[in-house]
């Protein structure tokens, strides 16, 4: 009976709902006398009236809120008025005591409810209360679990239900639920509670301000079966609820046979991503089940479609079983290999992240805050700026002192700029080197700030920061080209203290050199030693070798032995001359490499590859050298030092040259904790360790995992590699080949600059078209008024204000300077 009158205008409400957010213009509150008011009431039409004693102090706060409620209530066909009680026209609603005035909700002439003004504390409360009263029959208020179950049972097999918990009646969430109920109340049964205990009873441990659940009771054919429930995870706003309910109406899984890039379904329009389960004819049934399973998990978060590989004309990577498409218009379809429903769900959730935060910002059209630092180097250097560094350990050079310093002493110079984050991060390592070398080094550690002395830096050919150069008397400066870190730089300084190449005088000395005993005290690190062996006749080869050694100065130690008795070494190490001997302190043993009369360039290459090991431990520092080999990595992830059994197996295979196409290596998570991050990407979680993986970085990006149940032996490893070659194994994942796009958009100053002009012309247009608005805008200056800066776009102004009061983590809060 009560609801009948509302059905009529419900159809138009969905639209109104959307519009009502954007209208904030205030409507005047009609002020009527009681007589006038009652004469305007129409049968079936709801109206809210605030009765107010003339002359008494009116409740201005309430009136403000009431005014704001006019427009939203009007959208639901409810009129709002203020009724002035004049003495001659006393009405019973006028109350007896002054000041205790109430608002009344009527339908036609029938009083539905009276509200003390304090229950209508704000516009949300007004709308929520009014709609709650009007929708009394449609939104069941429940307080006990039995109530809820009885509603649930009554709906089974017939209709679905929307159940929500709100902290209190009259909250914004309550209003959002009521607005949704107004639109969808005829399609779904709504139930509402404020009892938190009830929520706990249905098994939701997550308690917050408000929750909304969709109970799929229509599907429950059996009374004993409870309705499947989907929880809405977004915050309860009218828009979010609308989107959520829309997705509930959509089919669970849709089957498509077209290019996933072209597919357009309701989810995309609602800003939700799409997940395509790629199916084949042979596995259709199983795929369909998977898709449904995924769809239930992602209900309300993403659209799930079943894409038939056979009937699509699109190039789908062979191993891909899932395709993912973000809701953004231009977003490309990503093909993924995800062998677990959990992985699909977590992938979707992690990719929805941006959209969720955007909603959180509540109408902030610009999205993420562009002023938040996302450069790890810049941010960490900035955060560390107040920590004093022992800069006094290095000599600061200036234009005046630069030349005299570098010409009078062997000096290492760091060229940096104080405003350059990468420079400043490296400065810390540089100072660490100074600390380590304190009092021991003959090389002077200096630095020059190119922000101050840019012309000095330019004269030294330093065009990029940071740069390190070693100036030695009588030699042209050597640029440091290693890692910007303490370890490598220290090595560079130490290696530069010995002559290059080392001239070995006797066989005894050569042996000592190869054992690494010659410079034992000098180095704090184990280093590969290279010894070139030449007979006195091989002058040109020796020259090339010396030149190559010089070029690599600072990264490896090279020695030369070319005495007459060089054949002793040549015979001992089976190295036909010319040759070089490699002594690896880490592996032990001495390797010989024949040196044909190669040109210097080739010699440099051979020397540069000399430190590469047959079965290296991969670390952050060593990886790039091995990546250059362009081979798939056969990598064992180990938590701690490597299992000797595997080590032996791998080395045996290496010796048999079985692993030539690969780079066999291992990673110690204790030394390289970032390995955990890598495993997490490969597996989605941390797998049990050790874990042997084949990572095909350079062609295709497949990652294969050695079955962890098997033990790794020479045989099992070879068998597995054969299977891989034969294509019998599926990769656990395919490494993304996504390009590195800008992490966030930039300020679009071009359109901001266009905006004032466009706004001016738009304003003119509006004046012509809308007669109603002429009056409002007549007070504003017409086109050609003050300069644009005096009339910034309103939205921008509001935004500043918000931003300036918001505490900012990164960066000092900036304030406009008033130029004292």
């Amino acid at each position: 009976m009560m609801s009948s009158g509302f059905v009529v205008f419900r159809a138009g409400v969905a639209l109104v709902l959307m519009c009502s957010f954007y209208r904030s213009t205030e409507d005047p509150l009609p002020e009527l006398s009681p007589q006038q008011y009652f004469s305007t009431l129409q049968p079936g039409k709801a109206s809210l009236a605030y009765f107010c004693q003339v002359g008494s102090l009116s409740n201005s706060v309430f009136l403000e809120e009431l005014k704001e409620a006019i427009r939203p209530l009007q959208d639901y066909g409810i009129s709002v008025s203020k009724v002035n009680c004049v003495e001659e026209e006393a009405s019973r609603y006028c109350g007896k005591e002054e000041g205790v005035m109430k608002a009344y909700l009527f339908r036609g002439h029938i009083l539905l409810r009276e509200f003390p003004t304090d229950t209508l504390f704000d516009v949300n409360a007004i709308v929520a209360h009014v709609l709650f009263t009007l929708l009394f029959n449609e939104v069941k208020y429940v307080t006990t679990l039995e109530d809820l179950h009885s509603i649930e049972n009554s709906l089974k097999g017939k209709a679905n239900m929307i159940f929500s918990y709100v902290e209190a009646i009259g909250t914004p969430e309550h209003r959002a639920v009521m607005e949704a109920a107004f639109v969808y109340g005829t399609s779904y049964q709504f139930a509402l509670t404020t009892e938190i205990a009830l929520l706990e009873n249905i098994g939701s441990e997550n308690t917050g301000r408000a929750h909304l659940y969709f109970l799929h009771c229509e599907l429950a054919s059996d009374l004993t079966e409870s309705c499947r429930t989907t929880r809405m995870e977004q915050p309860l706003t009218t828009l979010n609820i609308h989107v959520f309910i829309k997705t509930m109406k959509a089919p669970l899984v849709m089957e498509v046979a077209e290019d996933p890039q072209q597919v357009s379904i309701i989810h995309l329009q609602l800003g939700l991503p799409l997940v395509f389960i790629i199916s084949q004819q042979a596995t259709y049934e199983a795929d369909r089940r998977t898709a449904e399973w995924v769809a239930w998990r992602l209900l309300g978060k993403a659209g799930v479609l079943l894409l038939s590989r056979d009937s699509v004309d699109v190039d789908i990577p062979q191993h891909a079983n899932v395709a993912f498409r973000r809701a953004e218009k231009e977003a490309p379809v990503e093909f993924l290999v995800l062998n677990d429903v959990d992985l699909i769900v977590s992938h979707v959730k992690s990719n929805m992240y941006i959209e969720e935060t955007q909603e959180d910002e509540d109408g902030d059209e610009e999205g993420p805050d562009l002023a938040i630092q996302d450069d790890e180097v810049a941010e960490t250097v900035y955060r560390d700026r107040k920590r004093p560094l022992p800069l006094e350990l290095t000599v600061e050079l200036t234009q005046e002192t630069f030349n005299s310093t570098v010409t009078t002493s062997d000096s290492l110079v760091l060229f940096y700029a104080t405003w350059h984050a990468v420079s400043m991060a490296f400065l810390q390592s540089y100072i660490d080197v100074a600390i380590k070398l304190k009092g021991t080094s003959t090389i002077l550690l200096t630095r020059i700030n190119c922000a101050d002395w840019s012309d000095v830096c330019a004269k030294q050919n330093v065009t990029a920061f940071p740069a390190v150069k070693l100036y030695k008397e009588g030699e042209s400066p050597v640029s440091y080209e290693g890692m910007l870190g303490t370890k490598d730089l220290l090595k560079f300084v130490q290696l530069n203290r010995i002559s290059c190449p080392v001239n070995i005088a006797s066989i005894q000395e050569a042996e000592k050199y190869l054992r690494g005993e010659l410079y034992k005290d000098l180095f704090s690190f184990p280093s590969v030693s290279v010894l070139g062996l030449f007979s006195p006749a091989m002058a040109s080869a020796e020259e090339h070798f010396r030149e190559a050694g010089k070029r690599l100065r600072g990264s490896i130690i090279t020695g030369v032995y070319s005495e007459d008795d060089v054949w002793i070494l040549s015979n001992k190490y089976a190295a036909p001359l010319p040759a070089m001997l490699l002594a690896r302190p880490r592996e032990g043993g001495i390797e010989s490499v024949p040196l044909a009369t190669a040109p210097v360039q080739e010699m440099v290459r051979i020397l540069a590859n000399a430190p590469l090991e047959a079965f290296p431990e991969i670390t952050v520092e060593t990886l790039p050298a091995y990546l250059r080999l362009q081979r798939p990595l056969l990598m064992l992830f180990s938590d701690g030092s490597i299992d000797p059994q595997y080590r032996n197996a791998a080395l045996a295979l290496v010796r048999q040259k079985q692993l030539e196409p690969f780079t066999p290596c291992w990673l110690n998570l204790k030394n390289t904790p970032v390995g955990r991050g890598i495993l997490k990407v490969y597996f989605g979680h941390l797998p049990p360790l050790p874990q042997l993986l084949l990572v095909n970085l350079h062609s295709g990006g497949q990652v294969y995992a050695f079955p962890s149940v098997q033990s790794i032996t020479e045989q099992s490893l070879m068998l597995w590699l054969k299977k891989l070659e034969a294509g019998l194994e599926n990769p656990i994942t395919i490494i993304s080949d996504q390009a590195w796009k800008p992490p966030l958009p930039a300020f679009d100053f071009l359109s901001m600059m266009d905006a004032p002009a466009a706004q001016a012309s738009a304003k003119k247009g509006a004046e012509c078209m809308e007669a109603a608005e002429v009056q409002a805008s007549a007070e504003q200056p017409r086109g050609g008024g003050p300069a644009p800066r005096r009339e910034p776009p309103e939205t921008l102004r509001v935004k500043h204000w918000n931003r300036s009061i918001a505490p900012r983590e990164a960066g000092e809060p900036s304030r406009p300077h008033k130029e004292l």
Binding site: K349, S350, Y353, T357, P368, A371, I372, Q373, D374, D375, E376, V377, A378, E379, T380, R383, D384, W419, V422, A425, A451, D452, S454, T463, A464, M483, L484, T486, K487, V620, E621, L623, P624, L627, P673, R676, V681, G684, L697, G701, S736, D737, W740, K741, P742, A746, F747, F749, M752, M753, A787, P788, R789, R803, S804, G811, P816, H817, K818, E819
Partner: protein, 666 residues
Amino acid sequence: MGPLGLLLALALHLAACTRTHRDYCVLGAGPAGLQMAALLQRAGRDYEVFERESAPGSFFTRYPRHRKLISINKRHTGKANAEFNLRHDWNSLLSDDPRLLFRHYSKAYFPDASDMVRYLGDFAKCLGLRVQYNTNITHVALDKDPQAWNGHYFILTQQNGQAYQCSVLLVATGLSVPKLVDFPGSEHVEGYESVSVDPEDFVGQNVLILGRGNSAFETAENILGVTNFVHMLSRSRVRLSWATHYVGDVRAINNGLLDTYQLKSLDGLLESDLGYLALVKDSKGKFHITLRFFLDENNSSQSADAIPLPQDDNDNFAMRVAYDRVIRCLGWKFDFSIFNQSLRLSSGTEFSKKYPLIRASYESKGSRGLFILGTASHSVDYRKSAGGFIHGFRYTVRAVHRLLEHRHHGIGWPSTEHPITQLSSSIIRRVNEASGLYQMFSVLADIILLKENATAFEYLEEFPMQMLAQLETLTGRTARHGLFVINMEYGKNFSGPEKDVFYYDRSVAHVEDAWRSNFLHPVIYYYRHLPTEQDMRFRPAQWPLPRPAAIHHIVEDFLTDWTAPVGHILPLRRFLENCLGTDLRSFYAESCFLFALTRQRLPPFCQQGYLKMQGLSSTKSLRQHGVESRLLPDYTAMENSSRWLGDHPSAPGPLTQSLDSNKEEL
């Protein structure tokens, strides 16, 4: 004209046989001439400077009459950067010798003109510049010759008939002809160039000054304290340099008269077109202002006392008082007289009539190979930038020299090539120190030419931005893959003679409002293709360049120090990233390591650093900050796999974490 022309032709012919050849001839050994000479000398070019007087900078031996230069000589800025310090040194010329900086020549903030003369003399001497003094070039003509660089030689004839043949002519003669006025009675007017500078000569006098520029105010300033009053009359309203941001307008140091005028201390300022006026000398030798048409109406033979005066009709006429002296301070114009018509050197538009007409490349529109340097080249940026003054034209002269080096010697515009990872730091470095950009804002701009696939770029400094369409032919560099133009600009509606530049809220501090910055700030234009001449010509009004694909304003800074990590560098990086469609963040080696094993592609910073074994290590303290800021995941805390997963049900994987985690801070 007949016999004279014949004589001239004969003289030329004679000279042709004996004339000396120079690749470059520079007219005038003032600041611009010497600047060009210094650059030619360093480049080892065949050049000669011709100077009429016996020493360089003869203009400064006479002017300014009251000897105080109004170009600032700021000797302390608190910064060591020599290039930055040039931003506030308005008198030095460019050289490699730090001893040739003006601050070694004067301690005064507004130095004495004789110090400038001494400085210029030293500059020429120390650098050993080839200057022929006491050489008055009286005639310049063109001699067609297909062999010549420009299809013709410039023939310079000296007063004694000696002639020079020049491939390129660089005219740096300044503005040497005082601007005169012509109205009845203007013969009674004294000129700035000859008027007494001794205040004693003005005691108790009523003085009228014609003009409203710095010379007029300078003259007034000198005598303000001893005259009865000074009236200043000019056609248009006074323009104050602090309101127009143009150094050629009236500087605050000269504005004593504005003060006394506004405080009603008898001095005053009036506007009227001088062409309507007439000056009448009465029997007592005093001057009366009247209108020209009164004279025209009446018989000019009338005695002075009978000439009608405006106050006869209009008894409160402002200038009804009689003056003891009338002084003309109307500035100077270019001396066109020595240039033969064949050079087609004409004067500029109505707006800048006192200057010869030239292109934005400073080359004459009439003849190729003729360049105007220095003050006379100011038509390019008259009333806009500093091209008419030493601190501006020292850079435009250098730009001309760079153009010539490319045109005649095949040496491309100097440029440095960098990997793309250096893009934002190259820009930051320049906007913080570059003096040419700062002084010659909106005239000279830095250009970044992108290489294919935007993996590297070339950086060109201080290119005349109005010539952008011809960049490739003028510099010898190619711009096929997009370019950035780095310019400095004032706010579009901020400066102007009638503008209030002190209004509340005049400065912008918020990064997103940077486009509304009013004070000089860097603006970066991005073009996918080099703009065409058409684009340049039809650019939007008030825009120095055509509409770009994207634009970035670095927000104005009170200290002009644009190195704030979040306020300046971060928005710049975002702009560059979005223009290039790539990620320009810097990463520690550990992050690059993760990317190298989990992504098929790497961000440029990792590609150009880490993969080349030049990764950036973090230190303990930096790592800790990284973990705190959630930009770096704490891998050691990932120990317990199931816990880690459970703790962050909706946390993105580590791969996206570094991209997105910042948002968690919101």
